[in-house]
């Protein structure tokens, strides 16, 4: 795991709870009592008319749909080795709770991906500190 070649995020104070949640295999979403959860994590509600700074963290179900996707044929780490070659799927996942997030779809044949297909989260522990939220067909 120490030699993970892909790009890694650097959490900020505002996003640390999100990354801490993933490390525990929980997808935590910042949530406004009035407007519901949002993505990506901000310490306030990004509905302009609300802009409420009283945010709670709630756990998402980890279920969603492929909203749109591409199949990258570029050898970009970590998809650049003999064991893990391109092509691979980059997808925008629409979570059951509403927000959308970028991720990878882990699927045997990338070309069997479909818009609106049901997916569920898989936790990819890429280093001791970072777990990436990825998805697979449900």
């Amino acid at each position: 795991m120490a030699d993970y070649a892909g790009r890694l995020p650097t959490p900020t104070p505002e996003s640390q709870p999100y990354w801490d949640g993933l490390k525990e295999h929980k997808l935590m979403l910042p949530t406004c009592d009035d407007c519901g959860p949002h993505f990506y994590p901000r310490p306030f509600c990004p509905t302009p008319a609300c802009f409420n700074w009283d945010i709670k963290w709630t756990q998402a179900s980890g279920k969603g749909k492929v909203h749109t996707y591409v199949i990258s044929h570029q050898p970009i780490p970590p998809y650049n080795t003999e064991d893990n070659p391109p092509p691979y799927v980059i997808a925008v996942i629409e979570l059951e709770e509403g927000p959308r997030m970028m991720s990878n779809l882990i699927i045997d044949d990338p070309y069997s991906t479909e818009v609106d297909m049901d997916v569920e989260i898989v936790y990819d522990d890429v280093t001791d500190e970072i777990t990436l939220p990825k998805f697979k067909p449900a």
Binding site: L8, T10, Y40, I76, I90, M101, M102, N104
Partner: protein
């Protein structure tokens, strides 16, 4: 709402001496050579300039490099449409008296990477929420909305391939175009292409094959703007700004509100039409930023030239010319002349292509385009996105 209409004009417009692979020139040298060529085009001197607008460089960097001390600066740098936005801001600045002669510069060593700063750290939102998923630059992100559009409206890769073929046909008429017949031999991929050639080209990031993607180049371009009163004193006919718009909608493509509509395009386009007092039916010629084949399709829809979802069949319509040749909708001889320099797809794309779209609008309005001159162009629109449909800038220009 017509305060800005016809108050300011573009009196100088030019690219760098060459475009393509220029490893002997740095980013700032490309800014400077563009500035020289645009000032020469206007018949002005650097000493006349008192307003400086640029992207991809801090205005102070460019001012110091050029040796000028402008009294108005604008460093709006929101991607490829920054220069449409600069034109809009220059109009306001000249009208307000903040400056008299505005110089807009672009220079990017997009291919050779000579002094190209890399943005976006790992703690930025993009670094945390997109980069870890093996995002590899524009081909893997500008492509994100496309399959949603296919899904909702039945758009196809064949539709998009017609845009590439039409744009290449324009490039073949432009001696400066990198992929045109003048500059690149057929065995190296230059010259005419068919939609089938696009579909047969190497897959880069589905749904984009190689020929759905723009070229990657070094180059620059610049504009000079002055007030309407002053514009009449120049050797070349002025190109008036009739209307302009801008918008910022999102930054990461995953956060685009609706993957099939560019909110920024709509906001920017509406402002441009409103200030010009015109609508899509009044536009004779379009320069729609084409980083990829899909990019101008979205513009045609969101700027009202074709109803939402009908862009695919619109661009795929062809007719047969007198010699049996295929005439594409947006190609030479077609009903919708677009990207007549050969576009980002086949002419040049440095990273922030918008400047080149504006230069071509100016040249078409002046009637300087030789073989590729579109007949009867009196009103031209130059429009682009910044980032992945994230921001937008629109200008409507006229020669009268």
């Amino acid at each position: 709402m017509d305060q800005i209409r016809h108050k300011v004009a573009i009196v100088g417009a030019a690219e760098t001496d060459d475009l393509g692979q220029l490893p002997h020139m740095s980013r700032l040298a490309l800014h400077a050579q563009s500035a020289k060529n645009a000032l020469d085009d206007a018949g002005m001197s650097l000493a006349d300039v008192d307003g400086l607008l640029c992207a991809g460089a801090i205005p102070n960097e460019v001012a110091e490099y050029l040796g000028i001390q402008p009294r108005y600066v604008d460093g709006t740098s929101v991607g490829g449409c920054s220069f449409m936005i600069h034109v809009r801001h220059a109009v306001a600045a000249i009208m307000a008296g903040y400056c008299d002669v505005a110089l807009v510069t672009h220079g990017e060593s997009g291919r050779s990477g000579v002094d190209m700063p890399r943005g976006g750290g790992s703690a930025s939102p993009g670094g945390q929420y997109e980069a870890p998923f093996a995002i590899g630059g524009a081909p893997t992100t500008f492509s994100i909305p496309v399959l949603r559009h296919f899904h909702e409206y039945g758009t196809t890769k064949e539709h998009l391939a017609h845009i590439a073929a039409a744009t290449r046909a324009w490039a073949n008429l432009n001696p400066m175009a990198m992929m045109g017949s003048h500059r690149r031999a057929p065995e190296r991929g230059g010259g005419p292409i068919t939609p089938q050639d696009v579909l047969n080209s190497r897959m880069i990031c589905y749904p984009f094959n190689l020929l759905d993607c723009c070229v990657v180049a070094d180059g620059g371009g610049a504009l000079v703007l002055v007030s309407e009163e002053r514009a009449k004193d120049f050797a070349k006919d002025p190109v008036y700004v009739l209307g302009a718009g801008e918008a910022a909608a999102h930054w990461m493509v995953s956060q685009m509100r609706d993957q099939t509509t560019a909110d920024g395009y709509r906001i920017s386009g509406e402002a441009a039409y409103k200030s010009a007092g015109l609508g899509p039916q009044d536009i004779d010629h379009c320069m729609f930023y084409d980083a990829f084949t899909f990019t101008p399709l979205m513009a045609a829809e969101d700027l009202g030239f074709v109803p939402k979802g009908e862009g695919g069949p619109f661009f795929a319509e062809t007719k047969t010319g007198p010699d049996g040749e295929v005439i594409y909708k947006s190609g030479p001889g077609g009903d919708f002349p677009m990207n007549t320099n050969g576009g980002g797809l086949s002419y040049c794309h440095t990273g922030m292509y918008g400047m080149f779209a504006i230069i071509e609008s100016v040249r078409q309005l002046r009637g300087e385009c030789g073989d590729r001159q579109v007949p009867d162009v009196n009103v031209s629109m130059a429009h682009g996105p910044g980032g992945m449909f994230a921001s937008a800038g629109t200008i409507i220009l006229s020669n009268a």
